[in-house]
């Protein structure tokens, strides 16, 4: 008969130095002489930088004062932001109607939030977006349903920034896909045309295109015809972004294996059917993450319209800072704008990373 051991060895806990906070610190901060020195130096640097910054930004700061009162404060003067928040965000949009751009932006955020779930990626989403963009345009422009009409020259601040990036990307995407297909085309003239366009646009800075839209574009039009300045900048942004999207999509097209084309051909599909039913759905899915990074840079690049004197978020902020009452508080104001941009870009880039994980998870079975 088997005899079970009566004596239990006492359950031992792992040594204190290997688990918990101490163990973690030992493994991650002080594993080796070099790393220990590095950690201590970094901690010292943080100690020198972070507490003074917190003191400046939060403890000694003021939030609701006049510009004059700010001059006697040692901390940050966030009043420059809060006292002018409506001008910074909405610019010259009529003061009483500013709920309209606000509502339009909330609608946009709502739509973006709704579309980030991949379960909602159906044909219906396209119609929802078209309807949403139409309602946003209506809210901004007015002139219907008892809303007073607002000239597009008065559109400014954050709505303008968002408008330029959202419409820029929506219009640039199909154009980019066409350019990418053109670049892969077997027809020499089409291919040559698309290569020349893509390489030329990608070779020059966006600012030269914006200058072109501001100065040369009016010369292209017949006499008497003028196009709104915002629309001209929008066209420049679309033409610029399309070239970058074309390169991303081309990457996706090149990643398609030959078999896909051959299978489509053997089924008797013609070029358009092959592209629309077989190649593009797969190729565009692969390039979703890099497309999101194009969206991020398009969003950041809209800030360049400041240089051709459009009143986007950055320009309204600068005009507040040009007011003698608020002169000299630019770090605070720019930090605020930077946080807005950071919020937008960071949520997009973390979404792109999540998407990348999900999409690749489907392939690594």
């Amino acid at each position: 008969m088997a005899v079970t051991a009566e004596t239990h060895t006492q359950e031992m806990k792992p040594p204190v130095t290997h688990v918990g906070v101490i163990g973690w610190m030992k493994a991650n901060l002080f594993n080796g002489v070099f790393n220990s020195i590095l950690s201590i130096a970094t901690l010292y640097l943080l100690w020198k930088v972070v507490p003074p910054f917190i003191k400046w930004a939060f403890i000694d700061s003021v939030w609701h004062t006049t510009g004059k009162a700010c001059r006697h404060v040692t901390g940050a003067c966030w009043s420059v932001v809060w006292e002018n928040i409506r001008f910074i965000l909405f610019g010259f949009y009529p003061f009483d109607s500013q709920w309209r751009p606000l509502l339009a932006m909330l609608l946009l955020f709502g739509l973006l939030f709704y579309s980030q779930n991949r379960k909602h990626w159906k044909k219906r989403l396209v119609y929802v977006w078209i309807a949403g963009l139409f309602v946003m345009g209506l809210l901004m422009k007015g002139g219907l349903f008892g809303l007073s009409a607002v000239e597009s020259t008065k559109w400014s601040g954050l709505p303008l920034t968002l408008l330029l990036s959202v419409f820029g990307l929506t219009a640039a995407y199909p154009l980019g896909v066409i350019l990418a297909l053109g670049r892969r085309s077997k027809l020499p003239f089409i291919k040559w045309l698309c290569v020349a366009y893509i390489e030329m646009i990608r070779g020059v800075p966006l600012i030269s295109l914006l200058f072109m839209s501001a100065i040369i574009f009016p010369l292209f039009l017949p006499e008497g015809v003028t196009i709104n300045k915002i629309l001209r900048a929008q066209i420049a942004i679309i033409l610029f972004t399309a070239a970058y999207i074309a390169e991303v999509v081309r990457g996706g097209l090149q990643a398609m294996s030959r078999g896909q084309y051959e299978a489509a051909e053997s089924m008797g599909l013609n070029y358009y059917q092959t592209m629309r039913l077989i190649i593009l759905p797969q190729a565009l899915k692969i390039v979703i993450p890099p497309t999101v990074s194009i969206l991020i840079s398009a969003f950041k690049d809209t800030s360049l319209v400041v240089i051709i004197a459009l009143w986007d978020l950055l320009k309204t902020t600068q005009s507040v800072l040009a007011n003698p009452e608020w002169m000299g508080f630019s770090p605070e104001a720019y930090i605020f704008v930077a946080l807005l941009y950071f919020g937008g870009c960071f949520s997009m880039s973390s979404y792109s990373r999540k998407l990348e994980r999900e999409l690749s998870a489907g392939e690594q079975r």
Binding site: L29, L304, L314, P331, I335, S349
Partner: protein, 390 residues
């Protein structure tokens, strides 16, 4: 029996003929649009009596430029003004690229550090710098100089010989001495010598398998040669320290706030992207490569030099060059903070002469030259470095 002649295919069903037809149609449309735009433009230029052609390049510019690498005055021609701008663009891009490469590599490696604190901090740096528009960063740094730093009279001097004020950064440089010329000469001699040593060492290693520590010897030469010259020629240590004279600093080297803000913004923004490129490149070398190299008994430095780096660089170089090109293109934002780069000078020229088409054509041409030469280099490199598979 006679073979039946195949039915003649109508031309709209023949793919070859259809392709030609399609191209002719597209060519026609593009041509028509081009003709329409050009004829409108010519008409508008005539009706607004704007001159055309590049004749303005020889006319007197009559505007001053704040910073110039070559002699320039308001009496110089527009052509010379544009040359000054182009040189300024090259200067800021060149210095920016060097600092960005060093800083970006450093942060990219720090991101992979086993030290939690260092890796997290560089992660935060990368995320913040990538997500804030570079133009906003330029404005921010410029505002720091303009609003937050005191006037030259109350200038800050955190360490001896370095002065911070709203007129820029002034710092001490070694006073001119004949020894410097020779040191520079010997520095170049050492560089050339190192290049040949590297070639020789590589050939010897391929033939005999003997390893020669090229990196250490080369570094020794490059530092040692100028140092010996410096010691032999009487160790000149006198420094040229900036001093306040009137409203400005005399002596030393003064960098304008525009230049520093532009450089700082471009470097911090681009180095975040470079760091990501470097990190991805190093991570792309599979773990097995390192383990295999260690298993055959290579020292850690050799593992890095002979196994990891050659493979990582193949992944790193192409996106790296495109980041360098981005930095050069972004330097055009100088126009927003008033640094006289090419775009800024061209913009002034356009405003004065009204010849916008020529001005913008020049801007585009300059940047196209940059990017086409970069992509030519990339094609050459890719051909050289491409992985030759069995």
């Amino acid at each position: 029996m006679q073979k039946k002649q195949p039915e003649k295919i109508p031309f709209w069903l023949d793919p070859k003929k259809r392709a030609i037809l399609f191209q002719i149609v597209v060519l026609g449309i593009v041509g028509l649009i081009g003709y329409y735009l050009v004829s409108n433009t010519i008409f508008n230029l005539r009706s607004q009596s704007i001159a055309t052609g590049f004749g303005f390049l020889h006319k007197e510019s009559s505007f001053e430029i704040g910073e110039s690498l070559i002699p320039y005055s308001a009496a110089s021609s527009y052509g010379r003004a544009l040359l000054v701008g182009a040189l300024n663009t090259l200067e800021v891009s060149f210095i920016g690229i060097i600092i960005t490469l060093i800083l970006g590599t450093f942060i990219g490696i720090a991101r992979l550090s086993t030290n939690w604190l260092v890796s997290r901090l560089s992660g935060i740096f990368i995320e913040f710098m990538q997500d804030i528009p570079v133009l906003l960063q330029l404005f921010f740094w410029y505002a720091i100089f303009y609003d937050s730093l005191p006037s030259p009279r109350q200038a800050l001097s955190p360490i001896e010989g370095l002065i911070l004020s709203n007129r820029g950064i002034a710092f001490a440089i070694p006073e001119a001495h004949p020894a410097h010329k020779y040191m520079l000469l010997f520095f170049f001699v050492a560089c050339i010598l190192t290049y040949f040593i590297r070639k020789w060492a590589r050939r010897r290693q391929e033939q005999t398998g003997k390893y020669f520590p090229t990196f250490r010897v080369g570094l020794g030469l490059i530092i040692g040669f100028p140092l010996i010259v410096w010691l032999l020629l009487g160790t000149p240590t006198k420094m040229d320290v900036p001093k306040l004279v009137g409203f400005n600093f005399k002596g030393g080297l003064t960098l304008s706030p525009e230049f520093v803000a532009l450089l700082l913004g471009l470097v911090l923004y681009t180095s975040a992207f470079v760091a990501e490129v470097v990190r991805a490149g190093i991570q792309s070398v599979s773990r097995g490569q390192r383990e295999a190299a260690m298993a055959i008994g290579l020292r850690p430095s050799l593992v890095l030099n002979l196994v990891i780096l050659p493979q990582a660089l193949r992944v790193i170089i192409p996106p790296l060059t495109s980041q360098m090109l981005n930095l050069t293109k972004n330097s055009s934002l100088a126009v927003a903070i008033g640094f006289p780069d090419f775009v800024s000078v061209a913009n002034t020229t356009i405003n004065q002469t009204g010849q916008s088409i020529e001005g913008i054509a020049l801007i585009m041409a300059l940047y196209l030259i940059f990017s086409l030469s970069t992509s030519a280099f990339m094609n050459w490199y890719n051909k050289r470095a491409a992985l030759v598979e069995r």
